[in-house]
Amino acid sequence: MSRDQNKVLIANRGEIAVRIMQACRDLGLDFVAVYTKEDAASGHVALARELGGENALVRIHNYLDAGDVLSAADATGATAIHPGYGFFSENYRFARRVAERSRPMHFIGPSWRVIRDLGDKINTKRLARSLGVPTVPGSDRAIYDEMEAESIAQQLFDYQEKQGVSRPMVLVKASAGGGGMGIDEVHNMNRFRQTYRRIRNYSQRQFNDPGVLIEQRIFNYNHLEVQIVSARGGENPVHFGTRNCSVQSPGRQKRIETAPGFFPEGLSYSFDARKVMDDIVRHSLSIAREIKYDNVGTWEWIVTPKGDPFLMEVNTRIQVENGVSAAISRIKGQDGVNLIREQIRLGLGESMGYSQNDVSFAGVGIEYRIIAEDTQNRFAPWTGRIEKIAWREQDWLKLHTHVPQDRPYQIPTEYDPNLALAIIWGKDLEEAKARGTAFLDDFVLEGVDAQGVALKSNIAFLREKTKDLLEF
């Protein structure tokens, strides 16, 4: 089956749905968009209607109802499903179901075994260690025994002392937990047992599993990512450089991403930044080769102030910030790289068509996530009606939004309030920062909520953080 006989069902909403539609159009593919009652006025629905007509739209009950999504796919004759990010993107059961049902389809993402193996953080950590990839010091399996837990904690304190860490600290977390639940830190060995027991009991109660993980707590680290792209079969994974995602909200939500991860050309670091970036790329590729990674994915790393990189986890999906890596990448010297397009192409089983040697990098990219939130008040989300959204088009700017520009738009409360993504490119860091500031100055976002309170956005926060970007 040639490529243009395929039809992609986009099982997502908002900005990523818009970008997948555009990528499909670029590749000459038919697509089907799904939407729910709440999203009927969203930009992705309007765009789908514009590009594909009413036939390209199916209303479903719930983005997370697999049966609903698949019956929409069957009804429209879709041959592939793109999960976007969130929702089904890292759900290996869904991926398996798409691939193994009686009318199988392409799942545009890694094969389900890969998603399953890398979706488990503990499993990823063990895999990494078996390949000699550095991970955060601590246990790489759930600990069930109090004596063992204490000895690991003691070793961690000793280790940090030897390393000269000023405030040694150990994290105790429920192995079955996640999302910040069942996690606590210990400053002092004397307090360890108390904390351990509390977390263990919490975990037993909440998750019916008393296992805990014990790790070193690392402060002031930089959050780096490696973008990996690989074709089905996973023989020759290619990386698209590193990204730095250290500017985050207090809830660890990313706000600004830059590529590359460090900028040794213009900034000075207390460690060999080039070597660190090379190392994490090398390590990431070794894991990708080992597990035969076969689509687009991101390896998340943390780098300590002393320049030690540790692998955190692997995101087996396209990420929000894929555009910023694409902005600085060139394939065979050509710009206009689109990772979503690559993802769809490879997901449908096509071969890479280029190798690592064909990929080169130029300049600096910055991505802003423009979100309606009150940065003064613990980044509380703001919901209301957007009256106006406007910006000046530039050839160094790519802006993705699902907010319609020609009419007011009510932010749905059901989903996250990410409004727009702006990707700025400059030939060096100075230029990128200047362009970024200029963009933020020009950007207009106005609205009002039900109480008559004016829209609050994070633009000022982004402008503030742009000043010392990539410094460490």
């Binding site: 719930n62 997370l64 109802d65 697999a66 049966g67 059961r93 398996r96 179901r97 193994e100 049902r101 009686s102 063990r126 260690r129 078996s130 550095p134 991970t135 010091p137 601590g138 246990s139 790489d140 399996r141 759930a142 069930y144 690991i152 070793q155 961690l156 000793d158 280790y159 030897k162 019916n208 070193q216």
Partner: protein
């Protein structure tokens, strides 16, 4: 006047005979009836003597007719006999058989359960010049000639609890128990306690009551009968029936198979015949020890000869039980044997109090009595050599078991303690040596191994957690997990569960809804593969096969079909296995094989497994994948498994075994009301249902519509039937924990 009275009496006898005949019409009976009416009309015109002559003749005719009719009573007629309001009831028996009695535990309406009558009674006996008073405890169901409040002898759980209480009192006072069974079945109510729960307790406790128990069956209906009928001597009225389920109930179940919506009278008749419910059938099958011949068409209040005979029989039965276990009784035994045909106990003095040693022997005899029952009812497919070899092995194994666990036990502990003491002593020396070597190496500047390992331990691959015996991919894939379809959770409407893909649900989720935790039924193989250690399952006694001992029509094909579809020989699978290294014996009731019903083969397999566990000193797990009750087509052959297996369970527990029961799906009726329900440790998997009678049967028998959660595991938990509810995925871990905490160090406590 006398004429009228005797005519009235005659027409009543005719009416009674008509009742018994049911729908059939006897010409001779109608003729007699006609003559009675005719005589009544012209009675005035006759002289007294003529009239008396005529009535006397009619009476003789009627008696002959009754005799003739009695020859051809069908099983269903006998069911009508025992249910007739004129049937002798327990009060009549107390009045006429015993010399004096006091009702205890409530009287008539003023009782916790008026259907259960308990009385302390006296039998006074003259032997030669001596007068002996025998106190006895009489328990039994009372129908009370149709008194409404007696509930037809259908006993609620608290009635059975009352009976048990006073049976224990009898054991305390060392007096025999006479149990008169006259119940259509227990009342299926799940209150505190539940019907099954209480019957199980009754059977279990009766298995250990160390006083003579004599049971006399008039109407023995299923679990209600078993609740007081576990006896050393079981007698039966010749017109009584003793059955696993009433013929109507059996027909209601069978009618589905015959494609009928309602049971027809013919089908009921057929079921009654093939279940072998009559006294004669039961005597032939060995489930009762003797028959009390009733007058034609059944005993009624006016049959004083019958009461005399009954009195003699119960005295003789009790005497026999007592004499057989008394240590100094040789002459009396011989005397009684000689006097079998003559009037009972003329020269024999038997006192019904037992010495402590005799009481132990009595319980042991009772165990053996039941152990020998129903041997003819299952199919043993082993060849003669296999059987001999098994016998041999069994004998050798019991010797080994005795030596290993009884004789060597004490020395074993001593040796183990000695060994630990010695190693602790040696440790003093070795630790000193270690310290010295360390110091020496430090002084010489030799780097010590183990030093500096801290850092690498924290950042390198650690040892994987030691295998718990069951890691690796799934060992068993459910056939339901192969088709591509969506399954709706029954809680979808209330809890908002999304439909689940069958392959996820029956594969990875092990049949548990990820949203609400509803447990879909899984195959028993899932448990075999996931609860026990890989490759540790060793099945035994596969060659015992379920058969069709009653010759139930068309049942051979059905049981053959079950064998073919499940590849099992009976609904019970017994095997040795281990959970995290703890060896155990398991008996599994498989729902796929005829609903997990228990017949004689299943009972025998469970008893053999219990014996094996006892000899091997292993804990026993009764895993109930699902059971619908006793296999009704086997009749009493199935019903008798309730006391049989319970006795084996009692023996196992008393010798120190740990008996754990786990219910998985729907578990109802007989097994739950006996050998399963009597376990002190019972657990249920979430979403299972546990009860005495299913919703349909309850509606039929009581007319009540029960709420949907009536039998849910939570209800069973709240009324104390089960100890806890487990999630399917935790069964292995919880089972291990249970064995550790309940079994003690050697897993065979005490």
């Amino acid at each position: 006047m006398d004429i009228e009275k005797s005519l009235e009496a005659l027409s009543q006898r005719v009416a009674y005979a008509r009742d018994i005949m049911g729908t059939r019409v006897s010409d001779r009976l109608e003729a007699v009836s006609h003559d009675i009416v005719a005589l009544g009309q012209k009675a005035d015109s006759l002289s007294m003597e003529e009239a008396l002559d005529k009535t006397g003749e009619l009476s003789r005719r009627l008696t002959t007719l009754e005799d003739d009719l009695d020859q051809f009573l069908t099983p269903m007629d006998k069911v009508r006999v025992v249910r007739h309001p004129q049937r002798v009831c327990l009060k009549d028996i107390l009045e006429n058989v015993y010399d004096n009695y006091t009702e205890i535990g409530g009287r008539d309406e003023v009782s916790i359960d008026p259907g259960m009558l308990i009385a302390r009674a006296y039998i006074t006996r003259r032997v030669g010049k001596r007068v002996i008073h025998h106190p006895v405890m009489v328990v039994g169901q009372e129908k009370g000639h149709g008194q409404e409040f007696r509930n037809g002898g259908s006993i609620k759980p608290w009635g059975n609890a009352k009976a048990l209480k006073y049976m224990k009192v009898a054991a305390q006072e060392n007096i025999p128990i006479h149990a008169y069974v006259s119940t259509p079945g227990a009342y299926p109510v799940e209150d505190y306690p539940g019907a099954a729960q209480q019957i199980a307790e009754n059977i279990y406790e009766m298995a250990g009551l160390d006083v003579p128990i004599v049971a006399i069956f008039s109407e023995g209906g299923s679990g209600g009968a078993e609740a007081i009928a576990l006896a050393d001597k079981r007698l039966m009225f010749s017109h009584g029936y003793y059955s696993v389920i009433s013929p109507e109930g059996a027909a209601a179940i069978e009618c589905k198979f015959h494609g009928l919506t309602r049971a027809t009278p013919e089908l009921i008749e057929q079921c009654a015949k093939h279940q072998q419910i009559t006294a004669q059938d039961n005597l032939r099958n060995g489930y009762i020890d003797g028959i009390l011949q009733e007058p034609p068409l059944g005993a009624r209040n006016e049959h004083f000869d019958f009461f005399k005979q009954l009195r003699a029989s119960v005295i003789r039965a009790t005497d026999e039980v007592v004499v057989n276990v008394q240590s100094v009784s040789l002459l009396r035994r011989l005397a009684m044997r000689g006097s079998k045909r003559r009037q009972v106990g003329e020269n024999v003095i038997v006192r019904w109090e037992l010495a402590p040693d005799d009481r132990e022997l009595l319980v042991w005899r009772r165990y053996q009595k039941y152990r020998k029952m129903s041997r003819q009812a299952y199919i043993d497919k082993r060849g003669i050599f296999e059987r001999l070899a098994a016998k041999h092995m069994e004998f050798l194994f019991s010797i080994y078991s005795t030596v290993r666990y009884e004789i060597l036990k004490h020395y074993q502990k001593k040796i183990a303690r000695m060994a630990t003491d010695v190693t602790d002593e040696i440790h003093v020396v070795t630790s000193k040596m270690d310290r010295l070597t360390c110091q020496a190496m430090e002084a010489l500047g030799i780097p010590q191994w183990g030093g500096g390992s801290d850092e690498s331990a924290l950042t390198c691959l650690s040892e994987p957690r030691r295998d718990q015996g069951n890691s690796g991919g799934p060992a068993y894939v459910s056939p339901k997990a192969l088709d591509d379809r969506e399954v709706s959770c029954p809680h979808a409407a209330t809890r908002g569960c999304l439909d689940i893909w069958a392959r996820d649900l029956f594969g990875e989720f092990a049949g548990v809804c990820p949203n609400c935790g509803y447990h879909f039924p899984m195959e028993y193989q899932w448990y075999m593969a996931n609860v026990f250690d890989r490759g540790s399952v060793r099945e035994f006694n596969q060659s015992l096969a379920a058969g069709n001992p009653t010759g139930f029509p068309k049942f051979d094909e059905r049981i053959q079909k079950a064998k073919e579809t499940t590849h099992l020989q009976s609904s019970c699978v017994t095997f040795n296995a281990s959970i995290r290294g703890i060896r155990l014996t398991c008996g599994m009731l498989v729902a796929n094989f005829r609903g997990g019903t228990v017949g004689s083969a299943e009972g025998e397999k469970l008893i053999r497994a219990l014996d094996l566990a006892r000899k091997r000193h292993q804990p026993f797990l009764a895993y109930v994948h699902g059971t619908a009750g006793i296999r009704i087509q086997e009749g009493v052959n199935g019903l008798i498994q309730m006391p049989r297996v319970t006795l084996a369970v009692r023996r196992y527990i008393e010798e120190g075994g740990l008996y754990i029961v786990l219910y998985d799906t729907n578990s109802y009726a007989g097994p739950v009301a006996s050998f399963l329900g009597c376990s002190p440790y019972q657990y249920a998997v979430r979403s299972s249902r546990i009860g005495f009678a299913g919703p349909g049967v309850i509606r039929e028998t009581t007319g009540m519509d029960i709420p949907p959660d009536y039998h849910s595991a939570y209800k069973a938990l709240s009324r104390g039937h089960i100890q806890d509810i487990w999630d399917r995925k935790d069964v292995r871990a919880n089972m291990h924990q249970a064995f550790l905490t309940m079994g003690g160090r050697n897993l065979y406590y005490r």
